[in-house]
Amino acid sequence: MRTLAVARAVAWRTLHNVFTNPSLFVPSLLFPLFFFTAFAGGLSRVRDVPGFDYKEGYTAFQFVFVLLQSAAFGGVFTGFGIARDFESGFARRLLLAAPNRTGIVLGYAAAAVGRWMATATVLTVIALAVGMHVGGNGVDLFGLYALALLLNIAALLWAAGVAMRFRTMQAGPVMQFPVFLVLFFAPVYVPLTLLSGWIHAIATVNPVTRVVEAGRGLLAGSPTEVAVAFGAAVALVLAFSIWAFRGLRSAEAAGA
């Protein structure tokens, strides 16, 4: 119970900060919309490339990537807030006051989910408003959003681990850059089958590729490799949970 109470307090405070401060919320909302506009609008001719066979069209194809990207960056942006809490000294007081410190990480994770859900809602509404085709049924779409949710939590746990080890905003690029790389080394613009050379080799072993490809399959109503994608996403969450909780121990040992 004490863990949940701590988690609820941390999540409420983080969400309150985000939603009442436009400079924190607006960029994380606008960036996915901007990427969606630039990719779906500017590159729609890519669907004419021989071998491109995504039946729901290029807007839907890019929507899935941007949805997953917004989830991952929602986690990273929440990680920035953790680093800011350490810099301002708030995290030190939080560590002293919390009867169960596991709740701190859980609270930040809940806040990341809440923040991303707002972004995902706006992104989805806009995508549907511009005529995105959806072939999947309710179960398929639930699967797509569940995959994105897992990616959101995994990215938050990664960023939290970094923030709790470095305890400074200067660690921002360390949180952001690997996530950016992993996302863009997945099949962003065309399906995996149309990639060739070194990028195909990297994309094939990139766990995010499974998530992106399965997400596109779910949106189109023709699920492929869904179990593998969920396996990869859950593995990321578990691995970064260990990373984040060890980061918490590191912050405790350092006296924050």
């Binding site: 630039a38 609008g41 490339v49 863009f184 962003v188 065309v190 990639l195 990028i199 195909h200």
Partner: protein, 258 residues
């Protein structure tokens, strides 16, 4: 004249040394555009199979992007350094000396231009290493460097203007997403005539960044395209003249001796 030259030299040297001492300011403008080039040229290689695509090598097509993206970093570096000078009081102390204001601007931008030339050399070398050959030949390399320097100067002056007006490094940094939007809403990833969405094609056509990209691209994949060169140099020259005028005015306001 030699006093002014000495002042410019000292401040340009300070600008270059200061940049070189901050690895993030050197590495980011070199690595980040190359990374984006790698990701985009790998991911969008299939685009070369579209009818009407101007080359069979997407790397050659995309190599223009780092040159413009590097200029965005020039804006950030010039602006942030100058803002720091304002915030730390360095500019105020300078205003008590006989140093001429124009020397400060020229010195600061001299450092930016030097970095711009280094960046251009790195981008071009990487392109040559991965097999890109300039259709315009060796003379094209000279024109490419001249263009890169002009664009660095123009965008650096824009960064200096922002810094002098706001006096805040954070305000200058906040310009980065704005410039990034201009970059992505251009012909960065696909030729304008192949953009299918009419509204996007119109935006890209109205976006001056498209013409800066197409100027560099023409030297790499077309050869000597007078129209692309005239538009590119014309727009870069206009941006530079406007930005220099604005920065000089902002400097006069900032350094007004009371």
């Amino acid at each position: 004249m030699s006093v002014l030259a000495d002042q410019v030299y000292l401040l340009a040297r300070r600008s270059v040394v200061r940049t070189a001492r901050q690895p993030a300011n050197v590495i980011a403008p070199l690595v980040f555009p190359m990374l984006l080039l790698a990701v985009n040229s790998g991911g969008l290689k299939a685009e070369t199979r579209l009818p009407g695509f101007p080359t069979t090598s997407f790397v050659a097509f995309a190599l223009a992007v780092p040159f413009i993206q590097g200029a965005l970093f020039a804006t950030m570096n010039a602006g942030t350094d100058l803002a720091r000078d304002i915030q730390t009081g360095f500019l105020s102390r300078l205003s008590l000396t006989p140093m001429r204001g124009i020397a400060l601007l020229a010195g600061q931008l001299g450092g930016v231009v030097t970095m711009g030339a280094v960046q251009a050399a790195v981008y071009l070398s990487v392109g040559l290493i991965v097999g890109v050959r300039l259709a315009s030949g060796p003379a094209g390399v000279v024109v490419l460097f001249a263009f890169a320097i002009l664009v660095s100067l123009g965008f650096g002056a824009l960064g200096a203007f922002a810094a002098l007006r706001t006096g805040s490094g954070e305000a200058v940094q906040s310009l980065f997403p704005v410039f990034f939007v201009f970059l992505f809403l251009s012909s960065m990833n696909i030729p304008r005539n192949l953009i299918e969405a009419t509204w996007f094609r119109d935006v890209a056509t109205a976006n001056p960044v498209s013409y800066l990209l197409e100027c560099v691209r023409s030297l790499i994949i077309t050869g000597w395209d007078a129209q692309a060169l005239a538009l590119g140099f014309g727009i870069a020259g206009f941006i530079t003249a406007l930005a220099l005028a604005l920065a000089s005015w902002a400097l006069r306001v900032r350094m007004a001796r009371t």
